[in-house]
Amino acid sequence: MQTSFYFDQTRCSGCYACVLACQSWHSDSSEAISWREVLTFEKGTFPDVSVAFLSLSCCHCLHPACLEVCPVGAISKRESDGIVIVDTDVCLGKDECGKCKVACPYDIPKFGGENNAKMQMCDFCFERLEKGQKPICVMVCPLEALNFGSTEELKNKYKNATRETEGFVHDPQVSASILFNPKYN
């Protein structure tokens, strides 16, 4: 089973609730970084403008590039649910290594501001999932633009879901576990 995200780009308003909720759920520190980001894509010239947002965290790829390049095996993929997790105790750090960030086609691995910061990324709130709860980003989205489930469930629920959307290119090498309702057809 592979756990996946679903993102409805027609609904996202770029409100950042998912970004800050993720950060504050996973850390008490005001220095903490969020494992999720919101990207804004502006198109056209005045007055024919269009704006799309993309809320993105680790997409827990079927074939994670980060895992393959990690020299110390700090990154692993859980068999039960396909969630990719990083062991910060094993990670060599950004200054000493940083290979995962280079390898990831979506520039997902995150590092704090400290010296030789260890890699951090979305763990799909697996502790919440184990309690039958939704990931915090899905839970807080005011417009229900984010959802999650097994890839099969999501494909059944969202028949027209795509693997690409504005700001996100499908990379068959890694096969990201995320489906979209795209803003533009």
Binding site: Y16, L20, S24, F46
Partner: protein
Amino acid sequence: MGDHGNQSIPTACCHDCGGRCPYIVHVEEGKARKVEPYPDPALRPCVKVYAFPQKVHAEDRLLFPLKRTGARGDGKFNRISWEEALREVATQLKRVRDTYGASSILGLTANGAVGYLHSPLVLWRLLNMVGGFTNRWGSASNQAAHWASLVNYGTVGTGNSHDDLVNSRLIILWGWNALETMYGTGTPYYLVKAKEAGAKIIYVDVRFTNTAAVLANQWIPIRPGTDTAMLLSMAYVMIREKLLDEDFLKTYTVGFEYFSNYVLGKEDGITKTPLWAEGITGVKADTIEALAREYSTTKPAALMPAYSIGRTSFGAQPFRAAMTLAAMTGSIGISGGNAAGVGSRPGTSGTLGGPGSFPVGESPSEPVLPGGIKPLVVDHSLHKQYRIHTAMVWDAMLTGKAGGYPADIKMVYIACTDCLNQWSNTNKAAEAIKKPEFVVIHEQFMTPTARFADVILPVNSHWERNDCFRGLDYTAYGNKIIEPLGETKSDFEICCELAEKLGIEGYSDKSEDEWIRNVVPEPRDRAGNILSYDEFQKQGIAFTPIREQPIIAFKEQITDLKPFPTPSGKIEIYSEQLVRMGNPDLPPIPKYIPTWENIDDPLAQKYPFQLVTFHPPRRVHSVFYNIPAINKLEPSVVWINSRDASMKNIRNGDKVKVFNDRGATVLMATVTERIIPGVVAIAEGAWYIPDEHGVDHGGNPNVLTKDAPTPCGGIPYNTVLVQIERS
């Protein structure tokens, strides 16, 4: 809800946006750290609540009473005891009252806390019992919308509940950045549902906001302060092409013929054609004609003007014009329509505070009429006689009675507001507030206003006290989560203790808990069953009133021919009341009056850009500015169109200075296609950080805004001329 010694406690947000969002706080090992929403998407809060753990535990929280040591405004303070602080404030209150009269005490409050108990009203009650005080009048928010709704409908309860939006086929959001300003928790959700149900959404605004990004089928950019001209020309098209609901106008309105004559040019010789409007608004005549036809032929259609268009120098006019269009199309009192008024729910007082609020008593400084001076009236003569307009409090401090104000201000008592930062002309405010003999403030942080206080009384956060909050469709119980940090106290506790120091009896005969029980309406669950108070507190949310269908404003007037609460009993497109008031800036029918600082003003030679100041999507006004996680998401920027930017040699991310004769602010340029050329936009609420030359480096647009009331009592935050240069 205990779990291994941990607790999940329902509470709610206390700040002054249009929502009153309930949420749950998880306490782990005694620390309140994690925030989670209710599962219902219509109850989900915005990004800000996830910053509450940081805000409540912020290192810069004021935890002890402080007394000024340097010059006023230097920001130098010493810690003092509560005993000393309260004694000082009580002594000053008595001294100023006995020496100059109680009206020399100016009470400045706003909606920094909006609970049933913890709100500015606890201070009003205290000051009234001290012997009275001079209050302010004029809402910085929705004054024009309120006033215009009272004129046309006799009430501010003009809004359908937002679950009715899915029944609209056309929704025109006019200046309404609904997804980011949250008028009512759940409103963004209902709008998205409406769009997905097939409603066409047209967005008329200066900026292409994130609301436009998600919802708009069409964006119609318009110059600030010109909305009335466009609405009038839409009316012209509808009259010319006979796209009118004649029966509706005949049955439910008075004075349409006066309006029609004015639109057709019979009154002033100017025919309000789309071409006429194009020259004023910057909107193409074709676009206006198409919109007029679409609005009058699509049924049902909801024209939804927002408060922003009212925050212009003649901001009541676009609201009255929009309400007239709503009548011309028969869009009032029906599902899927909208009366185009202020949008409060029928039966509410017009504020989210709702009924049963804390009793303030009568003010001895004001004439003792039944109920005192009413906040919502058409004629503000009494307000002008006994109170000071919000935009003029700084001028009043400087000039007092000689300047035509009701009192010479000797003491200023501030609570629940960062007024120096948030009301117009902040540089003037920073000078004026040095003049009174004593300034005291209740605050959580060293805000730009608090820096000017003589004594700062530290207030606890809403996580440190119980309260209740009124949402549009529910009451939320704001449970206390943790003990008050440091020596902080609630506004209510401070006022109780001051009353005791002053020897005032009867300030409060109830505990905090008893007051809340007393002021909150009977709580019910979703099925309509009465909840005990204890159950309500435990569940955190109650639903009042219970309903199965959306609420439709004016349904009784339209269906059952019940009179409107206006003098004529009908919708007053023409108002005799306004004829009697005789103010040419408040004409009996809605008229286009060019704003003060407009692009044809000679001042535009020097300051060629119009400025609009919008609500910061990730702050509540000035609240959260000092919280790093939020500040990072809401940097101080000015929006400028790429054409203007290239003319001014400004690149995206450049440091720029925006200035006029009132002041200057330095911030970063956001060069974008998302704003009409000729206009720059800055979010309000960034903290005023002046350098030694008085130039603000926080990005606060109120160093630029004009301190003058609009004719209906509003503040013209969106009527400002400025220049912009690379810094």
